[in-house]
Amino acid sequence: MKIHEYQAKQLLKGHGIPIQDGETVSAPGEAEAAVAQVEKSFGATQFVIKAQVHAGGRGKGGGVKFCPDRQSALDNIGKILGMTLVTPQTGPEGRLVRKVMVAQALDIAKEFYAAITLDRSKAMDLFMVSSEGGMEIEEVARRSPEKIVKEWIVPGFGLRSFQARNLAAAMGLEGAAATQAVAMFRKLYAFYRAYDCSIVEINPLVLTGQGELLALDAKINFDDNGLYLHPEVEAMRDLDEEDPSEVEAGKYHLNYIKLDGNVGCMVNGAGLAMATMDIIKQYGGAPANFLDVGGGANVETVKNGFRIILSDPNVKAVLINIFGGIVRCDRIANGIIEAVKELELNVPVVVRLAGTNADVAKELLANSGVAIISADSFEDAATKVVEAARGKG
């Protein structure tokens, strides 16, 4: 799960990690008061206005503005709040900006990068820093990988002081700034572990002209499996930032991701679902979605799956590919028949059922009287659904 910058900063601040603080505005009427509060709390005379969306590259799309005075801050809040922000990570459709953060503009002496994530191949968390902050870290990694310095955390031992010192030294920090960095990094890792984060990224981490080290921005992602342990984090979920059909699917415990093709698919199991998307592409079609109905597929899941797939107007045909293991294919077949009858589907549906009771299921489908195109194998199904989507089915 992702959260906004302002939420991430609230959490970090609560754990004693210095941040660039500010106020959030979600309606134009709140702008004056928010700016006044930032003036009062931080003695600010210059401001930064930042769009709060779940996408990176906000500056490039015009979602982050420096404002030399109060009036400019108010003008920019007006411009950014309600705009459709297009960044390299939002896709061409962009994101509606529903909230902005007003912060004090700081005197920045130096920018760094700091991040914590899991190194899967080592099965250890990894703390990375770079003296090249404020820019795209992928670019730094490509161009000059030696500028990213890493420390791995031995499970159960946390980030040790010597590791934090190594990181601070690699950033070129000395004296009081290094002391601040050591304390901050250890708190940051403790936060990452305590909150079941999957990413904590501070880019940039800045040293101000006054010698203060703080997080100018913060990106935090959480491991969905760990959310049950942190209801206060779960409460920060912003459904406005998620695809409505994906949110709807989540209510029925369906795993759905919308794509831009025209062949809808409903499959049990994530691996088989991805393989089904792949084979559709190989046979000349384009998948409209990823949909894993999970292990307990029944009449209700099939019905809900159909509803969600067909809420996408691009869908011209649907492929159902179920490999029945514990799930019996005859039950799935009954679910399909009932759903097709009830929902009065107007797109062709190709069904391939294999595994437990597949023969019984095929007979049920054949005798049902509903218009279903039956397929015998994986490739037969792909061929038939791609043809059907082209209108030849």
Binding site: S121, I257, A270, L272, I279, G325
Partner: protein, 292 residues
Amino acid sequence: MAILVNKDSRIIVQGITGSEGSFHAAQCLEYGGNVVGGVTPGKGGQTALDGKVPVFDSCVEARRETGANVSLIFVPPPFAADAIMEAAAAGIELVVCITEGIPVAQMVEVKAFVEKVGSRFIGPNCPGVLTPGEAKVGIMPGFIAKKGAVGVISKSGTLTYEAVDQLVQQGLGQSTCIGIGGDPIIGTTMKELLAMFEADPATEAVVLIGEIGGSMEIEAAQYAKEHVTKPVIGFIAGQTAPPGRRMGHAGAIVSGTDESAAAKKRLMAECGIIVVESPAEIGRTVKLALSK
């Protein structure tokens, strides 16, 4: 011969009194495996599976009383990490965890613990292990498989069944099928299992089914290049998955170019793996490889 489990494996089921645990424990018993007991803290002294097996309070007790050397875990996510460590600490040689949804941070610690104690761990979030005709330790539909000489290692559940089904249609049986799970942290990697299949005289070829995300397939391929003489047939699901999106499995995150399906397939082919382009061609490709 086979790997990991066989007809002599003595299996206990942790979480045997829950609905998932009791259903699948019964299926494992029906398949012919030696399910010798179950563990549910606080329910020691009861019996499970219609009185067929005893329930113990702890893994230590279960192992002492039954001589169990394999544990199959169906404990819910909040208690699963502890259950895995309990089994390993009790000296159970092979621990297989089916549970889906264990926090990744806990798995990082579990993996370190299990390695320290010296058990072999498969999963979590996986369909388990099946040695056809001998023992099933997990939730795979046993009837689709057939005894034979192809080893199967897979990150996925139903895609494994699909591959096994295609093999059987080509007249090819399996030595052992292992679903390793698709989570970011798993107990046993593809590389380790590839080494076991290479050493297993009953295995003549290995099918490796991977997904986008992570670098496990690449590590296995590099190992195969140096150490594996048997043909390895590989498939990677997720060519059409959009970068940066999570596709059900946490494992399926494309976080860098080297973790994309195309990059993985290219690197695997460079290491001498026979890479299958279409998921419908897995069975036929193995048949062809074995006929050479």
